[in-house]
């Protein structure tokens, strides 16, 4: 499953991470940067190591919110994109509203989500969804609009159900674009989950960041941010892996 290529890529990523951490450590020590501004990587790693179990728990919660928000964003985004490309009316009348709503920063609306949806996972998932969905919409529309003429022609001539036309012709052709959208949406969903946890939560990395900020515990803030970074890379890697599996025809000559 995990080929040598993936291993190599993983090793390379790890290597650069280590380099960055070392440079960071050296800079902090040489310029005597205060911990309150920028803590030492060694302290951050020690912190993570010492409280590994607790951080794991927080991470799992945030991961859960992120993945849920992401899945909804993919499903919803593709659906909206399909509506946009297939109905001029929808595009003309509803797309401007979607764009407008997308431009409203969710951070500013976050308290309203708690008001409407309570303090469970729902408002966080909703924020993650809302922040992530637009990237999926735009890239899916782009993908569907870029289906070559002869491919659509073929689909039309075969006269299958519109279901078949969409799932067997248009979507596979647009898939690489959709995946590009998913890559952007994934990290947006992560940010959305964190923003959601900022507003109302007793767990998750967002809560960790917020409460650590409240006591100026920069080490902990950075520990959580560090996990988020790693999480982002892992989730991205998962997407790339899925992409490779889903598009075997593109890989033929690439190794």
């Amino acid at each position: 499953m995990i080929g040598t290529n993936n291993l190599k890529a993983g090793a390379a990523g790890l290597f650069s991470l280590v380099v960055v951490l070392i440079v960071w450590e050296v800079i902090c020590r040489v310029f005597e940067v205060r911990e309150i501004m920028l803590p030492l990587p060694t302290d951050i790693l020690a912190e993570l190591y010492n409280e590994a179990a607790w951080y794991a728990e927080q991470t799992l919660y945030t991961l859960w919110i992120t993945v849920l928000g992401f899945i909804f964003a993919v499903l919803g985004g593709v659906l909206i994109a399909v509506a946009l490309v297939s109905s001029r009316l929808f595009e003309r009348f509803l797309y401007p509203l979607i764009i407008g709503f997308n431009s409203v920063p969710k951070v500013a609306l976050a308290p309203l989500f708690v008001v409407w949806m309570g303090t469970g996972a729902e408002p966080k998932v909703a924020i993650a969804f809302l922040i992530a969905v637009f990237a999926i919409i735009v890239d899916t529309v782009h993908g569907l609009r870029s289906v070559p003429q002869d491919v659509t022609d073929l689909g039309r001539v075969l006269k299958g159900s519109s279901w078949d036309f969409f799932f067997k012709v248009k979507l596979p052709c647009a898939l690489p674009s959709v995946v590009a959208g998913m890559k952007v949406a994934m990290s947006l969903a992560l940010v959305g989950a964190i923003v959601g946890e900022f507003v109302s939560s007793q767990k998750g990395l967002g809560y960790v960041i917020m409460s650590a900020q409240g006591v100026f515990d920069t080490v902990r803030v950075f520990a959580a941010l560090f996990i988020l970074g790693v999480m982002g890379v892992v989730l991205y890697g998962a997407l790339v892996w899925l992409e490779r599996r889903a598009t075997p025809w593109r890989q033929i000559h690439e190794d």
Binding site: D150, D153, L154, V157, K159, D164, F165, C173, I252
Partner: protein
């Protein structure tokens, strides 16, 4: 089957856009069901356009166009098979799955067509490439795969846009022969665009010759040669007469608009 498979009356097609080329002008023809129609004409005269109009992929701008008795409006008629000038294989499906696409779309059982697919692949020399992706095939191999795909679900109206353009002479002869055989078995209607005059005569019940842009119907030649026609029919004098008649038509065309004498 006295019904017209294709009935065109003063069909005109003007492309939109600034200088909107007039591609077809006043095309009128009745094509009875079960006919094999070859379409000849200089490059850019509107052959592909005509096929696309029949397939419902382009809207005609004047005249009437009926397929199987029903006007073609916006959407393709039923039971059409089409080989596109550029093969239009789906890059993300293996050759075998490309061939099975029409079956899936027709909601038929894929498992029942595996033999037919094998047969077609073998007929076209692609038996080793069923599980290859299109990009692993040569130009001619892709074209053969596209032909197989158009044949697999036995379309009642088969539209072929230069299907043999990328094939060598021998594969082409072979394919000509097989196509005739398949058509005689099924008696479906075929519109066949080609650049080969001899190919057009060999295959066609009638040969439509179009004039240079804007495409007008110059002449419709009925080819009265007994079926099945062996490849050797091409050496007969009757065959030669048809070919030289058409060649004369081309010579008469004012191709100056299109290229220097």
């Amino acid at each position: 089957m006295s019904l017209s498979a294709v009935s065109a009356r003063k069909v005109q097609k003007q492309y939109s856009g600034e200088r909107g080329v007039l591609a077809l002008d006043g095309i009128s023809i009745e094509i009875p069901s079960g006919q094999f129609v070859s379409i000849l004409g200089p490059s850019g005269c509107g052959k592909s356009t005509f096929l696309r109009c029949v397939a419902g992929l382009e809207d005609i701008t004047a005249g009437d166009l009926d397929v199987n008795g029903k006007p073609v409006v916006g959407r393709p008629p039923d039971g059409i098979g089409m080989v596109f000038q550029r093969d239009a294989l789906l890059e993300w499906r293996t050759i075998r799955k490309n061939l099975l696409l029409p079956i899936e779309f027709a909601k038929k059982r894929v498992s029942e067509y595996q033999d037919k697919v094998d047969h077609l692949l073998e007929l076209t020399g692609l038996q080793d490439f069923g599980s290859s992706y299109p990009r692993e095939l040569s130009g001619g191999m892709r074209q053969r795969a596209a032909i197989c795909r158009a044949l697999v679900d036995d379309p009642t109206l088969l539209l072929m846009d230069e299907p043999f353009g990328a094939l060598d002479a021998f594969t082409r002869d072979q394919m000509n022969f097989e196509l005739q055989r398949i058509w005689m078995e099924t008696q479906n209607t075929i519109l066949f665009v080609t650049h080969g005059i001899s190919e057009a005569v060999f295959l066609g019940d009638i040969v439509m010759v179009l004039s240079p842009r804007p495409g007008r119907l110059m002449e419709v030649i009925e080819v009265d040669l007994p079926r099945p026609r062996p490849l050797s029919v091409r050496e007969t004098p009757e065959f030669g007469k048809y070919v030289s008649h058409i060649r004369e038509l081309f010579d008469k065309m004012d191709l100056n608009g299109d290229k220097r004498a």
